[in-house]
């Protein structure tokens, strides 16, 4: 502490330890907040239209599923002081005719504020939903999941809602869409 430099050195050492403690406290406190919170109201996930058709162009040998869905979600309780954003995604889980389990994300959205955490979405899938072996004799369950990304701390995954029953895929549409 005799020179300016040793004072700066000393203070910055204690400062970095204090910052580490502060961030650990913030992370643990927000995890505790989530743990003791009431569970979310389940979101509603419903499929309004489902078609199976061959792909376009180079994808013509592969069956594509075309899904339109309606989501109604209220994720506002997930926003506490340590929440940076929510990554919300809709995935389809099914077992295809060859017995392979698949889980495909067909839609996602980043929610950055509490005001946009309550939403009603009527949309079609964002990403290609295809299966090389085809969608014969399969049925999929569609689940809305979220990933809470904090400013500091661990990522938390959760389920917001689901079509609890699996919805069978219709047979392949013969005419090109």
């Amino acid at each position: 502490m005799h020179t300016i430099w040793s004072r700066i050195n000393n203070i910055s050492a204690l400062l970095s330890s204090c910052m580490m403690g502060l961030f650990a406290a913030i992370a643990l406190s927000s995890l505790a907040q989530q743990f003791f919170q009431a569970p979310l109201d389940p979101s509603s996930v419903s499929i309004t239209s489902l078609k199976v058709a061959p792909g376009k162009g180079k994808q013509s040998k592969v069956d594509h599923a075309l899904v339109q869905f309606e989501l109604d979600a209220n994720l506002t309780p997930l926003f506490n002081w340590n929440t940076k954003q929510l990554f919300v995604y809709l995935d389809a889980e099914y077992t295809n005719s060859k017995g392979v389990k698949n889980s495909v994300v067909i839609w996602d959205r980043i929610v950055r504020s509490k005001s946009s955490a309550k939403f009603h979405v009527e949309a079609r899938q964002k990403y290609a939903f295809r299966d090389v072996t085809g969608f014969r004799d399969s049925a999929a369950t569609y689940t809305l999941r979220y990933n809470l990304m904090p400013h500091v701390g661990a990522l938390v995954y959760g389920v917001a809602g689901s079509t609890n029953n699996s919805i069978p895929f219709p047979p392949l549409a013969k005419n090109n869409v």
Partner: protein
């Protein structure tokens, strides 16, 4: 000239001043960590926590790092120079 510059660059303070600075820095930093966490948690605002923490640390740095005269009030009393007898 270089002597003066060296003193300026070092910014020395006496031993009592050093003890005071040490105590102030420890109490202030730990206190500001606790206060900024509690205030931010109660008001649920992370930017508020970081603002309190950063501002308070900057204020402490201004109060402690420069060699203010208040930290030089107890200069060390050195013993008088003894003349050394040369032995042939």
């Amino acid at each position: 000239m270089s002597d003066f510059l060296q003193q300026l660059g070092e910014g020395k303070i006496d031993f009592v001043g050093q003890q005071t600075v040490d105590r102030i820095s420890r109490v202030w930093l730990i206190g500001t960590t606790i206060i900024s966490f509690i205030v931010g948690f109660l008001l649920q605002s992370l930017p508020l926590t970081m603002a309190i923490f950063g501002g308070s640390t900057a204020l402490m740095a201004v109060l402690i790092i420069p060699p203010w005269p208040v930290f030089n009030q107890h200069p060390t009393k050195w013993l008088p120079v003894k003349s050394v007898e040369k032995k042939d």
